[in-house]
Every structure is written in C-alpha cells, then in structure tokens.
C-alpha cells in the first residue's frame, strides 16, 4: 500500500469513478472490493456524510456518501451506484458510495499534475493528491486517507 507521496511517482493504477459529473481516481492499492448498492442501515447521530452501515460477508462496515462528503446534491440511487470498499492502512474497512464505477486506468508519473492551491475550491482540494490526464479526460486523484480520516 503506497503512501500519498509515492502515488505521484512512477506509474499506478486507478479505479475511475463518477461522482456528480466529475471523474475521480482511487489508487487501486486501497481498494478491497467493489459491491453493488445494498440496503444500508442508518446510524443516528453519525457524521452527516455517513449513509450508515452495511453487512459485507458478516462484517459491519460504515459507508460514506462521496456526494455528501463533497457537499453536492443528494445521492440518487441507480443501477449503477456502487460501494467501493476501501481497506485503510489501519486495516479497517470503510465503504465509499459513488455514482458509477467506470474503468481502471494506468497513469504514469508524467500524466499526473500535482494539485496547486486553488482559492475557489479550497474545500475539496485537500482531498486530492493530483489531476491525472488519461486520453482526453481529466481525473481527480483522491487522497484516500484524507477523505476517510477527516473528521469534519
């Protein structure tokens, strides 16, 4: 499992997901599993962006909505909605609910542009490690640890 600095060195594989109308890349090293949408049990008084918990083969795993996390409009569950199960460095599992999983891409170092500080989008920038260019598309690469561990 790579640490965040290593992500931008050398070539790496990313899972490309769609959240709202943007594409995001998740370092494949963190991904344990991708599951279809299933019944989520609401957890009262948890952080806003947590949808609740699901049962994944006998384990109870919290699921966060990336839309809620990024303060976008509410989720619309479709047949394409997926939960990406992330295994963190602390060996804990957490699910990320995304609109769609598109593909797996391999990005070389030169395809990745480190993010710079952007005044207008300050909020979301801290969750990104860089922007990847693949074919004509731009993929925002998520800083998984920041997304998950963040307690706001």
């Amino acid at each position: 499992m790579a640490d965040n600095n290593a992500v931008i060195n050398g070539s790496k594989q990313y899972i490309v997901v769609k959240i709202n109308n943007e594409q995001y890349g998740i370092d494949i090293g963190y991904v344990d599993n991708i599951v279809r949408m299933q019944r989520v049990t609401r957890v009262p008084k948890a952080q806003e962006y947590f949808e609740g918990v699901i049962n994944l083969r006998g384990e109870v795993i919290p699921v966060m909505s990336m839309r809620k996390k990024f303060e976008l409009e509410a989720d619309e569950i479709t047949g394409k909605t997926r939960i990406i199960i992330i295994k963190t460095e602390a060996q804990a599992l957490v699910g990320l609910q995304v609109d769609e999983v598109k593909e797996v891409v391999t990005l070389d170092e030169e395809d990745i542009e480190k993010t710079t500080y952007d005044k207008n989008r300050e909020e979301r920038n801290e969750y990104l490690v860089g922007i990847g260019k693949h074919a004509d598309e731009l993929i925002s690469l998520l800083n998984i640890n920041a997304v998950i561990a963040d307690d706001v």
Partner: protein
C-alpha cells in the same frame, strides 16, 4: 536447545508461582513462624529457579536461587523471618515480575542484574548463619561478590582432592602444545571437574549444556570421559575437561553453574610450566595459594568481563515491539469434551437436515421444523460452552491486590486491611483483561481518600485499622464487583464547592442538584477532591477514566456514600461480550436490538395515561414514576404522520433508575452476535454496536444504560 516452544507454559507457570509467592509472603509477614508457608515458599522458589534455569534465564535463576537459599536456612531453623527480610523478599518478587514482563514482551529477561537485591539476600543469609552455608550453596557464592570467596576457596581447596579428577589427567603431546600456546597468547587454561546432581535424570543433556556454555566462552581441548561417551551418558556423576579461554575463573565457574542440576564444579588454572615439569609433584598447597591470589586479582575484572559479555546477547531496545506471547486461556479438559460432544451433535443435526431435504416432500415440512429446533438447541448450548471456555475467574486479577494494599498501607502510614470475597466469580476473558486497572484505581482511591488516618479514626471511635472490601458476585446476566471502605465517605459539600469553584456547575445549579448528582460529578474528567496530591491517587485523572473504561466494557458504575461510614463503588459488568440475548424492536421500518438484561418489563400504555412532570413525559406505573423516552425522536427517525392511541413501552433499568422506551413494534427475542461498527464512523453512546440479522440486514444495538 530450543526452548521457545515451552515459553508460553513457562510464562503461565511462572505467573502462578510468583502469585503463589506473593500470597505466601503476605502470610509470612503476619505469621513469621508458619512452617507450612515457609515450606511452600521454598518449593515455589525452587520450582521457579528450575524453570528459569531450564529456559536459560540466568539472571532470574540467580535471584530465585538467592531467595531459595534464604528459605532453606529459615526452614532449617537457622534464621528468623524479620520485617526487613520480608521487605527484601517483596523487592525480589518485584524484580522477578519485571523479568517476567521483559520475557513476555521480548522473550528476553533484560539486562537488570539486581545485584543489590541478591546482595541484600546474601547479607541476610550471612548475618544470620554461622558461615557454614557456603558448602551447601555453592552457586550462591559464585554469585555473591567476593564476600565469602576466601572461605569457599579454602574449603574446596583442602577437602576435595579426590573429587578433583582432572588432577589425574595425562596429557598427550598435542594437548600439551595447545596449552602452552594458549599461555603464550595470554589465554587462561582451566581444568575442571563437573559434578552432576545425583537426582539428575538427563545427565547427558546437562553435560551437553555445560559443554555448550564452555564453548560459548572458549575451547574445550580435552575431556574425560570422551565427548562421545558423555553424549551417550557413559559416565557416572562427574566429568572433567580442559578449557582454553580468555575468560577468568569466576566467569567459567559461573557459566558452568548456570546449567541446572549441576552439583558442584572444581576448577583450577593450569600452569604449563609447572604441569609439564619432568616430575609432576608440585606441592598442592602452593598451587592452591597461587590460585587464590590469582582469584583475588581477578575479582574485579571478572565482574567487568561478565558485564561486557552480556550486551552481546542483548536484543535491541524492545520497548516498542509487540509482546511476543499470544494471550491464552487455560481450559478445563471437561469443558473441551463438552464442546467436542456438541460439535458432533451439530454434525448429526446437519446430516438430519440433509436427509430431510432428500426425503419425500409431503412429510418434509414437519421434519424440517423438527430438525431446525434440534439445530437451535445445539447452537445454543454450543454457544454456552464456548462462552464457558472464555470465562476466567476474577481471581487472576484481584489476587495482586492484597500485596498492593500492603504496600499502600506502608506508604501512606495508615493501617488498613483488604477483605476479598467471590474471587471465583467468572468473567469473560476480554473483560478480565480490562478490569484490572479500574479496580486498582478504585482500591487506591479508597486507601488514599476513603480511609482516614489512624489518629482520625481513633478520634471518631472507629477501629484503628481501616477496612477495604472487594466483593464480586454474579447477579443474573451481570457480574457485580463492589469496592467498599469504612472510611469517611465522600464529603458532598466539598464536591459541591469544588464543582462551583471549577466552573463545572453554577451556584444555582448546585442549589437544586441532588446529592446523588453531585457525587456523579466525581466521574467528570479532571475532578479530584484530594486537597493534596499524592502519588497514590489524586491527579484528577482517575474516576472519569475508570468510568469510561467500564462503560467501554458495556458495564456501569455507581457510588453510594454515607458520611463517616464509608463509600461503596459498585461496578456492574455483562457476563459476556460477544453474544447476547436481545429484544428486537421496530421504529418505522428500522430495526433495533435492546439487550434483554436491561429490560424489566414491557407495558402497553394509553396515550392518555402519559403525564407531564417539568414538561417531561412520564408514566405512573405500579407506584413508580418512570420517565418516557421517545426513541423515535432521540434516534432522529424520519418523520411520520400517525400517532397511535396506545404506546408500547419497554421499561429498562440501570441500577435503581428506570426509563420507558417508546417503540412502534416488538419483533421478539433473539440471540444476537455483537459486531463493532467499524472505525471512522462516530457513534453516540446510546448505540453500543450492530448485529447482523438472519436476512443479512444490519440492526443497531441500543445501549439502555445510556438512555436511562
């Protein structure tokens, strides 16, 4: 010899023995003449020494050996037990525990030699006996710094010639050459005869260990009988060797005696100039003298050499590494048999189900139900059995407390006594591991703050000796542990003033608060009423930590106090953590579980019977007023439009408090497996976990304690 596979057993047994020693020392302090206790201690020390020796923990072995020596003297009546001696013994016990901790953490006993304790023990030995112990305890001497060195040398010098078999060695030419070369290189050449204890069963193994020790520090150039014969155990009780080494005599002796079951070693520096004179009749007296001066010269370097040799073996600092030992539970073989039986029944039940599914479809349903019932019975009893295996008597936690109270009593200068009951009460292993610290804290609290000083007690007309009680007992599905003292009780006014002073509550609040609520303030973070901070307790971190730890275990804690009569801390813990009986309820279309052990009754209440007290909803039920908790609102359930005329109320209790939880529907009783909710998600106290239902759905478990 690889002994790592015995490590776990060693640790378990050492723990037991140390605990035994601690208990016996406590008895000994009160009854210095109790010969049963003395014998018991001697035996425990002896076993410990043996085990430590076998495992190669030499420092530990030396320390226990010194202890054993002391008790061998006491046992034979040559020595009396004094208060000072008991203090030294307790110190040595602490040191042994420190060794054991090191071993648990790193497999290595660590670098602490505890020379001071060994010296104290030996001094005690020398002070009391008339000096003839040297002969009995050869190893002790080798260990103790030169105090009784000369006596030893003189004795072994004159009386044991016939045992110094190496003197009859004849040397071949190449051996002679090797010895001379060694001398030229300023190495030491020793001849030694090693005597194995008569009771030793594995002489060859011991001899092998001796050889291994010697080869660790030098080179063995000659042995009699031959190495092959020794390995085949073709020797009586002794064997002789010639060793070339850079180490000095003490170090060699020490190395050899470090092997268990070695009775004695006779060792001598060889001097080739004298040895290989044409006529080998050099005066023995002269040789002995020479050796003695040599030994004296070497004393200091010896110590240094020993110290210098040690760090080589020392592993890197291990403070941050994880313990190498898995936590284990000792299980009664009967419990295991029971488990085995149930598993075989489980297989039968499975086969039964297979048979039913294959049989004719008409009779299917009924047989199927029967089989399911059978299966249910088995899984329930299987669960019970597994839980029993996980249960450990609380004794393993509380048995160190008498010692702690003894030390506290000395430290605080108060007279106090700890009375324990119910040590055989069993708790889940995970609880046992966690409960030690909170209990210790409560006991320290009682000792430090609870009990008054002796003068104060006498002035109040109480017995001078303060009493602390630790009682454990099972109460339904809970285990209750009480820590009680007969001290001054909690000064409620003091707590009230302190709380105002600290800004925890306002004066107006203080006016209206009941005493009980005031006492609860003690569990707030950083709240200590001790006027002076002692190192026993009273830094303000404490009761809040105790409380959160106990709540983390799914339990709760309560205090009752009465001025001048004392206070009682009552801890209530669930018997097991993993699987519980729960009542499943429904709120809207969401399901929740309420642990059965906190439920008192379930009532149907008409909406019109709901009264208001201070704008809060209550119901009046059989003479008690019970506040209502609308789970619907508390749990932020999605809004709904209907309101039924009757409320289903689940009455839950926590200690002597009650609350009525309003639910929509009851589903029924179910055995549920508690699962953690995972990291990262913040959960309120009122949710203690989650469980997975039969259909794969996740339901949350409500913690009734947090709702009351």
């Amino acid at each position: 010899m690889d002994v790592s596979q015995y490590l776990e057993i060693f640790i378990e047994e050492t723990k037991e023995n140390l605990q035994g020693l601690s208990d016996q020392f406590m008895i000994l302090e009160k009854e210095p003449e109790n010969s049963d206790t003395i014998n018991e201690i001697f035996r425990a020390a002896h076993t410990l020494k043996g085990m430590a020796g076998t495992m190669g923990y030499k420092r530990m072995q030396r320390l226990t050996h010194a202890t054993e020596d002391v008790f061998s003297e006491i046992r034979s009546g040559n020595m009396k037990v004094t208060a000072d001696l008991v203090d030294i013994l307790f110190r040595s016990l602490d040191a042994l525990e420190a060794y054991l901790d090191n071993i648990i953490n790193s497999q290595d006993e660590g670098q602490e030699d505890n020379e001071d304790i060994i010296k104290l023990l030996n001094d005690a030995l020398n002070g009391e006996t008339n000096g003839d112990e040297e002969a009995k305890a050869p190893a002790a001497e080798a260990d103790s710094a030169g105090i009784n060195e000369s006596g030893n040398e003189a004795q072994s010098g004159d009386s044991n010639d016939e045992k110094r078999k190496y003197r009859s060695f004849t040397y071949a030419e190449f051996e002679e050459k090797a010895i001379k070369e060694a001398k030229e290189q300023n190495k030491n050449v020793f001849a030694a005869t090693v005597w194995v204890q008569e009771s030793c069963l594995l002489k060859a193994a011991r001899a092998f260990l001796v050889f291994k020790e010697m080869e660790g520090i030098g080179e063995v150039i000659k042995s009699s009988p031959s190495v092959q014969d020794i390995e085949d155990e073709k020797f009586d009780l002794d064997f002789s060797v010639v060793l070339i080494t850079e180490a000095d005599e003490e170090a060699v002796k020490k190395a050899i005696l470090s092997v268990f079951e070695i009775e004695k070693v006779y060792i001598e520096q060889l001097n080739p100039d004298e040895m290989f004179k044409p006529v080998d009749t050099a005066g023995k007296e002269e040789k002995v003298e020479k050796k003695e001066t040599h030994a004296a010269d070497n004393e200091k370097p010896a110590a240094k050499a020993a110290k210098a040799a040690e760090p080589k073996k020392a592993p890197a600092n291990t403070s941050n590494s994880k313990p190498v030992i898995n936590r284990s539970v000792r299980v009664d073989i009967e419990k295991l048999d029971e488990l085995m039986n149930q598993v075989s029944e489980l297989i039968i039940a499975k086969n039964g189900l297979v048979a039913v599914s294959e049989s004719d479809s008409n009779t299917n349903t009924q047989n199927f139900t029967e089989q399911i019932e059978y299966l249910e019975r088995i899984t329930t009893s299987l669960h019970e059995s597994v839980m029993k295996v996980r249960m450990v008597p609380i004794e393993s936690v509380v048995n160190r407390f008498p010692r702690m109270i003894r030390d506290l009593s000395k430290k605080l200068g108060k007279k106090m006594e700890l009375y324990m009951s119910g040590e055989d009460t069993e708790l889940d292993r995970t609880v046992i591991d966690e409960i030690g610290d909170p209990l210790m804290h409560l006991l320290r609290n009682s000792a430090d703050h609870g009990l008054e000083s002796s003068e104060e007690r006498i002035a109040k007309g109480k017995p001078e000796n303060g009493s602390i009680f630790l009682n454990a007992y099972q109460d339904g599905n809970n285990v209750v542990i009480e820590v009680r003292d007969d001290g001054a009780g909690i000064d409620i006014e003091k707590v009230r003033n302190k709380a105002i002073e600290r800004g925890t509550i306002t004066e107006e609040q203080a006016e209206t608060m009941e005493d009980k609520d005031i006492i609860d303030l003690l569990f707030m973070p950083s709240f200590s009423t001790a006027e002076k901070i002692t190192d026993v307790s009273g830094r303000g971190v404490g009761l809040d930590v105790v409380k959160s730890k106990i709540e983390g275990l799914g339990g709760d804690i309560e205090v009752r106090t009465k001025k001048d009569e004392g206070s009682t801390f009552t801890i209530r813990l669930p018997l097991t953590l993993a699987i519980i009986q729960a009542l499943m309820i429904e709120l809207g279309d969401e399901k929740f579980a309420i642990p059965l052990n906190s439920i008192q009754t379930i009532e149907d209440v008409a909406v019109s019977d709901v009264k208001y007290v201070r704008t809060k909803e209550v119901i009046h039920l059989r003479g008690t007023v019970i506040p209502l908790v609308r789970l619907y609102d508390i749990l932020d359930c999605p809004p709904r439009d209907y309101e039924s005329e009757n409320l289903t109320v689940v009455i839950v209790t926590k200690g002597d408090k009650q609350a009525g939880l309003v639910v929509d529907n009851l589903i029924g009783q179910q055995e549920i497996v508690i699962k953690p909710l995972g990291k990262y998600i913040n959960i309120e106290k009122m949710i203690s976990g989650a469980t997975i239902l039969g259909d794969g759905e996740v339901a949350l478990i409500l913690d009734a304690n947090a709702l009351v």
